[in-house]
């Protein structure tokens, strides 16, 4: 029987989340490009148009999930790349902490922007 191949390591939740967010982001990123470049031309974007879209609960929750998934997937990818390039020990801890803070700040500011764009709250 052919050997089963998988890059999964038992207990590695970041590996799992990176794949789950990847699957979500394939659809969400494609939807984002189509909505804001092909259906609504980017040059015609206005605050009222953005507000109308963001005031629909489905669109709003999709964008917030997109933000959180994108931030995790992107920053975790950067961290993986750095570890792969040889980052270890104390440097790894410091870079990891900085990246976690950067992610939280990005998500925090993104949520602030999302709330400013909607009439839901």
């Amino acid at each position: 029987m052919a050997k089963h191949y998988s890059s999964f390591e038992r207990g590695n939740w970041r590996w799992f989340l990176q794949r789950i967010t990847a699957i979500f982001l394939i659809g969400a990123l494609a939807f984002h490009f189509v909505t804001l470049h092909f259906i609504n031309h980017a040059a015609d974007i206005s605050f009222l148009g953005t507000q109308a879209r963001m005031s629909e609960i489905g669109y709003f929750s999709l964008m917030v999930t997109f933000l959180v998934a994108g931030a995790f997937h992107g920053v975790n990818g950067v961290y993986n790349g750095l570890v792969n390039a040889g980052l270890e020990g104390r440097q790894k801890q410091i870079v990891g902490t900085i990246l976690i803070i950067a992610t939280l700040l990005l998500i925090g500011q993104g949520l602030r922007v999302a709330v400013a764009m909607t009439t839901l709250f």
Binding site: I26, S46, A85
Partner: protein, 138 residues
């Protein structure tokens, strides 16, 4: 039993002439990933102009958010940067799908061909999107 393949530290880029399709796919996936995450931070910074928008100004499209976005879209260089972003995003998506299959152990024997297919599809999608991205008021 599940096995993981330890590739070790990053390859020596001085040997780039010897790199095969899989290595180029790996390099391009990392590069496009770095660009996309960098863009995400920039994107949220630009969209932050939506915070504290004056409703009166928004009604006549003279608010900071609308003016900033339409002002940026009025620059030809921004349109070309957006096309670059689309290319980067499409390649990362298509190669990402390829990687998900590789992770499942599917299509390992055609991973070179699927990388070339990702490149060709990226080029086709980008080229067919040019009119949309360059259209509209400049």
């Amino acid at each position: 039993m599940a096995q993981s393949y330890d590739r070790g530290a990053v390859e020596s880029f001085g040997r780039w002439r010897e790199f095969q399709a899989g290595m180029w796919a790996w390099i391009l996936h990392k590069l496009t990933g770095w660009i996309l995450v960098g863009y995400l931070f920039t994107h949220i910074a630009v969209l932050s102009t939506a915070v504290g928008v004056d409703p009166g100004a928004a009604a006549t499209e003279v608010d900071t958010y609308t003016q900033t976005l339409q002002g940026l879209e009025g620059l030809l260089i921004v349109r070309f940067l957006e096309i670059g972003l689309l290319t980067v995003a499409v390649f990362h998506i298509l190669n990402g799908i390829r990687l998900l299959f590789v992770d499942l152990g599917l299509g390992l024997d055609v991973q070179d061909a699927s990388f070339y297919a990702s490149l060709i599809l990226t080029a086709l999608i980008t080229l067919s999107s040019l009119p949309t991205f360059l259209g509209g008021a400049l």
